[in-house]
Symmetry: C2
Subunit: 207 residues, 2 copies
């Protein structure tokens, strides 16, 4: 199968391996699963469970987590409105590169503003799957896994989404996860809903 | 193989799919192949040929090209010294994410300053393969595929690497590509040298 040592006229367009070829190698289609919702709504849990489930099916995914990216690529950004927008933009651009590489790129960021999310959607409109964690703030605040709501209520964090900064829910998201009869869906139920969607759209195989 | 629907206590550490698991899926080890050299030295040609050769062996790679990244992730950067450094830093951070995802990430940027390249190396010291295109500037300028040397000589581009801005050659690169008896190596010869190196280091399989 190797092409080395075979003399040939190498043209740039022949030379470059394209997205479709990478997807064929992986037997999947590159896309972005953009998880949005309040702090404590379960974004990271869904991202991890979804990644695990996809892996068990032999699919390659990668999680871009808001907190983690801020330690590397976005470590020179703060929390001003401009920096928040730039934070989302860079994650969107990187997610697009991962999708182009053939991966199922899962992003996990609050991403509270519709215009920032829509700008990311516009980067890859045919393969952008927006997942809205529609969990009431009372539930999220009750969990408060990082203790941030407590700090925000005490006025020690300013501009906290849901407290003194708005969360703008998606208007046309692909998937909405919400309470059923007052109970939160389990991580496996949430991941299952996303996997079913991806399967239905054909992202888990090549044509 | 699916874990969905199997009731279990899900712990975060069990849940997250790690680098080693992705590498096992791909039967390769994530790494960064950092190609550096003058404009016209053949960086893009090597990147493409290497990507093609790896693909023919069933390996997943992805090319981060300086010009392309400047149209997306780095489109808000110019060519000031600070912006050039930030350009390289972001590419390094993204390459690190790709390597963490299990891919062989090939970067193709002039990256003329040693400190910028070394900062990227420091992000992933055990899996950073620096490839120096040691092609004399006369050869690069003779090719001048983008007509940039001509513009630089005419003073229409300022701060052009090799003309009025320095190129700092690597001191301890993993691979150096150079003329043999006055002749440039072919793209296949160059790619072959890199593939042999990756093979020798064990990156083309998992343990």
């Amino acid at each position: 199968m190797s092409t080395l040592g075979h003399p040939s006229n190498v043209f740039w367009h022949q030379c470059t391996v394209g997205k479709a070829e990478r997807e064929k190698l992986l037997n999947q289609q590159g896309c972005i699963v953009w998880i949005t919702g309040l702090s404590g709504s379960g974004k990271s849990t869904l991202a991890c469970t979804l990644g695990r489930e996809l892996h068990s099916r032999g699919k390659l995914s990668y999680i871009l987590d808001g907190d983690n990216v801020r330690h590397g690529l976005n470590k020179n950004l703060g929390f001003s409105p401009e920096d928040r927008t730039e934070n989302i933009r860079r994650v969107g651009e990187v997610a697009k590169l991962f999708a182009d590489a053939g991966l199922i790129c899962i992003t996990s960021l609050i991403s509270p503003y519709r215009k920032d999310r829509d700008a990311c959607r516009a980067m890859l409109p045919d393969a952008f799957v927006e997942v809205f964690m529609n969990i009431p703030i009372e539930v999220c605040e009750g969990r408060d896994p990082k203790g941030l709501y407590k700090l925000a209520r005490a006025g020690k964090i300013k501009g906290f989404t849901g407290i003194d900064d708005p969360y703008e829910p998606p208007l046309n998201c692909e998937i909405e996860l919400q309470l059923k009869e007052g109970a939160c869906p389990t991580p496996n139920e949430m991941a299952g809903q996303v996997v079913s969607y991806l399967e239905g759209r054909g992202f888990l195989q090549t044509l």
